[in-house]
């Protein structure tokens, strides 16, 4: 009997250039997608469909830069998906895009295939910060990309920003928020810069070139919370804000602990208490998937305790909070203390972060485990 899975993730690991802060599995120019790669994705999907019943309610294409796919590769991928799975139930289909990687025609092709939500990687509106981040687009090009997406009929657009970038002033960040709000986005993801493993940024940070400033982190975050709240956004997860009804269904499913199937090199799947990663090596992946081999690595069977910790760790970050039953009785005193001190609040047997607790959730969860 196969398991019904309603969440599909596709990983497209190609980028026009390598951003020095990004820790995702991706490639830089010279190794762009090939027809073989598209076929490999479809082959892996076919293989999974032998054991998984996939009726997606949400699809998320991430990367890398999926919007970098050529129009013909895109069409090959989209029709390949439609051939293999029933897309009738899809309510949200997100594509991650970067400015300068698509034109109006491509945007229309995305839309035509069923994509109804695009997350645009803008990161900043300050030219200096864009340079620090190694982005190759200008603010004008980002605005142009946004207009093309709206022009193609997308009414659910999200925008990615990064804050607390070394060298960026408080004013520059406020201006970035202003510019962002002027575009009336439906959804916003604002990420505190993190030094990820195996990135140029981490190397530069360790060399003392790029700093970490906990006070700056806290200030920017609180400014962001205030600013977006007064602009009518719902803060529904630590780093995510949405207009009412425009919360990401796909991401919310991760946080609720639903099963999801991930396809493509480096993608992670979790189905029936088992988690695995698809082989994170595009060349090897393409070869193996095309010859029908199983490309799963790092397979782990999740115990009840694993799932409890994960649920506590992700659900507390959301507006829905975590059921109190996820906390062991031995941590009851901690809960009482954190509630009394105003970091947590209780609502209908759930624990929710307060405004005070929101920026401190890692420490808070650490005390509840």
């Amino acid at each position: 009997m196969s398991t019904l899975v309603r969440r599909l993730y596709l990983h497209v690991p190609f980028c026009a250039r390598e951003c020095p802060y990004c820790g995702f599995y991706k490639h830089t120019p010279g190794r762009l997608a090939s027809t073989d790669f598209i076929d490999a994705l479809l082959a892996e999907l076919s293989l999974r469909l032998e054991t998984v019943q996939m009726i997606p309610e949400s699809i998320f294409m991430g990367g890398g830069t999926p919007s970098l796919l050529s129009r013909s590769h895109w069409l090959r991928l989209a029709s390949g998906l439609a051939d293999r799975i029933d897309l009738a139930a899809v309510r949200e289909w997100t594509l991650e895009a970067n400015p300068r990687t698509f034109d109006a025609a491509k945007a229309e092709a995305f839309r035509a295939a069923g994509v109804n939500r695009v997350s645009l990687g803008v990161q900043s509106w300050a030219p200096r910060t864009l340079a620090t981040l190694g982005r190759d687009h200008t603010p004008d090009q980002a605005r142009e990309a946004w207009r093309m997406l709206r022009g193609a009929g997308f009414n659910n657009l999200s925008l990615d920003l990064m804050f607390s970038i070394p060298g960026e002033t408080a004013e520059e960040w406020q201006q970035s928020l202003d510019e962002t709000l002027a575009l009336t986005p439906d959804h916003l993801s604002c990420y505190n810069l993190t030094y990820e493993e195996d990135t140029a940024f981490l190397t530069r940070h360790l060399a003392g070139e790029l700093d970490v400033d906990p006070d700056r982190d806290a200030d920017r975050y609180l400014e962001t919370l205030n600013r977006l709240e007064t602009s009518g956004f719902i803060h529904y997860e630590v780093s995510n804000w949405a207009r009412p009804g425009k919360e990401s269904r796909h991401n919310a499913a991760y946080w609720r602990g639903e099963d999801y199937l991930g396809i493509g090199p480096g993608a992670v799947s979790t189905i029936n208490g088992q988690r695995w990663k698809t082989l994170p090596d595009t060349a090897a992946y393409t070869r193996a998937a095309l010859s029908g081999e199983n490309v799963r690595t790092e397979v782990e069977d999740l115990t009840a305790e694993d799932l409890r910790l994960e649920a506590l760790g992700t659900r507390l970050r959301t507006i829905e909070g975590a059921p109190e039953s996820l906390v062991k009785p031995s941590a009851a005193e901690e809960v009482a203390l954190l509630v009394a001190e105003g970091f947590l609040k209780r609502r209908e047997r759930r624990l929710l972060l307060t405004r005070r607790g929101m920026p401190l959730v890692d420490s808070i969860v650490g005390r509840l485990v």
Binding site: D217, V238, V268, L309, L360
Partner: protein, 598 residues
């Protein structure tokens, strides 16, 4: 062999003045041992001893020397530990001798340890034969050293025998001097068994091996002996001498130096300095000089990971079997968990034990700030001693606290006398005598509280004299002082591991120092953390760690969840090693870090 042909002697010297090399030469010259054998023997010695240039325990050796007078003499060389921590052991080894070679480096001259060792030899009324070693060195200055012998040590300068153990110069002169200048053992007044235990080792297979010097009577296998101090009797299993290997003999007679094995299971059963006598026909009085040895320095030793407690306990037991001077007792600390309160003879002894736990037993241990034994007169007249700050009575119950003092001999180049005096003053000491040794060196004799030299005194002495200074000390009784117990409070609660007894005038600076250290290592919390140093209820220093403002992972999507969980697992594990103080959770490593770097 008759008493007249026996000589018992030790070599006393400052570290690096060539004691081991001279011993080797004597053994070679008398053909007791070949060069090759000696090498092998040295290789077997404990690393630690060789590294520190000290000998903790080397067994005695018997040599046969055909002297120029045509007679063959039996020479017993007794080794002595080269450090003041073991001064009682040294004194017992010396008590087993009639004479000592005082070795002085011809280039470096008299050093602090030379002075301290000579004091011990004089106390035992030994005949001292000065040997000026390393005369082959270009920097050797024989006239200067002869002058120092006279001026500092009050020994006729011309008595010094020029020698180079390395080059084999003067070895025969030394042997002749041993025969001619050191008296033979006294003829006993009766034949009642009296043997002085001057050392002991523990052998896994044979149990305790006691090293003895026969003063009167004789001892052989099968007889019942009585240990004078414990009044316990044992049957002798074996007696013998060192040639240099342990070699069984039928009997040990007056003047002999050798070993005896009875049925003793632990080194605590035999006390150094004790008198062995016959169980049937015991002596009336013990040989003079026996003392129960008491630890002078105390410190808590804790396993870094609490799972290692049982293993540490085993290691301590094994150490004590070999080292009766080391004492330990289980204790628990709120901050560090379960560990031991340990007693040591002195600083070096403490370091040796800690190092042996690490090297020989592979234990990862942490030690609390070392302390000394205080004598206290309470207001109700009761006299108590305290070796752990936690047990110090409340201030209002104390009439007087006395602390152990040392008399320190500090030899330094003239140029540093100002800085040195300052250091002594900073350590609450007093320079009582200043003597000029030669054109460029002086010796300061100082009274110092033992507590003040426990931690960094020697290091600072070395660094302020660029390595040229040397120090040795002897214990010098107790003196009243204005001492107080200082607590370190975190979030208002005292943390036992950091309680110390300090001089009132030094409390503030010590408190500030510790508070700053703690601030450095305690991670930020959800709450403000107050760190305070307090005497009684009075806060004398404070620091505070501001509350953490932001601690949140930015991204948490499908591919991040495993990583997130692993982080939580780590936090969960870490929580077990956290010490909760009020609302604050402090990882044990933080405390350990302070103790390690302080």
């Amino acid at each position: 062999m008759s008493l007249e042909l026996t000589r018992n002697f030790s070599i006393i010297a400052h570290i690096d003045h060539g004691k081991t090399t001279l011993s080797d030469r004597l053994l070679e010259f008398t053909q007791t041992i070949t060069m090759r054998q000696r090498q092998d023997q040295l290789l077997d010695a404990m690393d630690l001893e060789r590294e520190r240039g000290i000998t903790i325990k080397a067994h005695p050796v018997t040599m046969l020397y055909p002297a120029q007078d045509g007679k063959t003499y039996k020479l017993n060389l007794l080794d002595t530990p080269g450090h003041v921590d073991f001064s009682y052991e040294v004194s017992r080894s010396l008590a087993a001798c009639e004479g000592a070679l005082l070795l002085v480096d011809a280039a470096q001259g008299v050093e602090a340890q030379t002075v301290a060792n000579l004091h011990l030899a004089n106390q035992q009324k030994l005949h001292v034969v000065p040997v000026i070693n390393k005369v082959d060195l270009p920097a050797a200055d024989l006239p200067k050293v002869r002058r120092q012998l006279e001026e500092i040590l009050a020994i006729p300068g011309e008595d010094g025998i020029p020698a180079s153990a390395k080059m084999g110069i003067g070895i025969e002169d030394i042997l002749e001097a041993i025969v001619s200048r050191i008296p033979h053992p006294e003829v006993p007044q009766d034949n009642v068994l009296r043997a002085l235990v001057f050392d002991s080792v523990f052998d896994t297979y044979r149990g305790v091996v006691s090293y003895v010097r026969l003063m009167s009577g004789s001892i052989k296998r099968g007889v019942q002996i009585r240990m004078f101090s414990t009044n316990k009797t044992y049957e002798v299993k074996e007696v013998g001498v060192f040639t240099p290997k342990m070699t069984a003999r039928d009997v040990l007679e007056p003047g002999d130096v050798g070993y005896l094995i009875a049925n003793m299971k632990s080194s605590t059963e035999v006390k150094i300095g004790d008198t062995v006598t016959d169980a049937q026909r015991p002596c009336i009085e013990a040989l003079p000089g026996f003392k129960e040895i008491h630890p002078m320095v105390f410190s808590g030793i804790y396993p870094v990971s609490s799972e290692d407690f049982e293993q540490l306990k085993l290691a301590m037991g094994k150490l004590q079997i070999n080292d009766a001077a080391f004492s330990y007792q289980a204790e628990s600390s709120a901050a560090l968990g379960f560990g031991f309160r340990c007693g040591f003879l002195g600083l070096l002894h403490m370091e040796i034990v800690q190092e042996r736990l690490r090297r020989e037993y592979n234990m990862d241990v942490i030690s609390t700030y070392p302390g000394v034994v205080y004598e206290i007169t309470k207001t109700n007249g009761e006299e108590i001693t305290v070796d752990n700050p936690c047990y110090l009575p409340e201030p209002q119950e104390i009439q007087e606290i006395r602390e152990p003092m040392v008399k320190a001999f500090i030899l330094i180049p003239n140029d540093y006398i100002g800085e040195m005096m300052q250091l002594v003053m900073e350590k609450r000491g007093e320079v009582t005598i200043t003597e000029t040794l030669d054109d460029n060196r002086v010796m300061l004799t100082c009274g110092l509280p033992l507590n003040e030299i426990l931690v960094d005194f020697n290091d600072r002495l070395k660094s302020l004299t660029r390595g040229y200074g040397s120090m040795d000390y002897e214990y010098d009784g107790y003196q009243a002082a204005n001492l107080v117990k200082m607590d370190m409070l975190i979030a208002g609660e005292p943390v036992d591991a950091f309680a110390t007894i300090v001089h009132r005038e030094k409390a503030e600076s010590r408190g500030r120092h510790l508070a700053a250290k703690l601030k450095e290592v305690i991670p930020q919390q959800l709450f403000v953390v107050a760190i305070q140093a307090a005497i009684g209820g009075k806060i004398i220093a404070r620091e505070s760690i501001s509350a953490m403002r932001k601690d949140v992972t930015a991204k948490c999507y499908g591919g991040d969840i495993s990583r997130k969980r692993k982080l939580l697992e780590k936090q969960k594990e870490g929580k077990k090693k956290m010490k909760a103080i009020g609302k604050i959770n402090i990882p044990q490593e933080a405390f350990i870090k302070v103790l390690k770097t302080d």
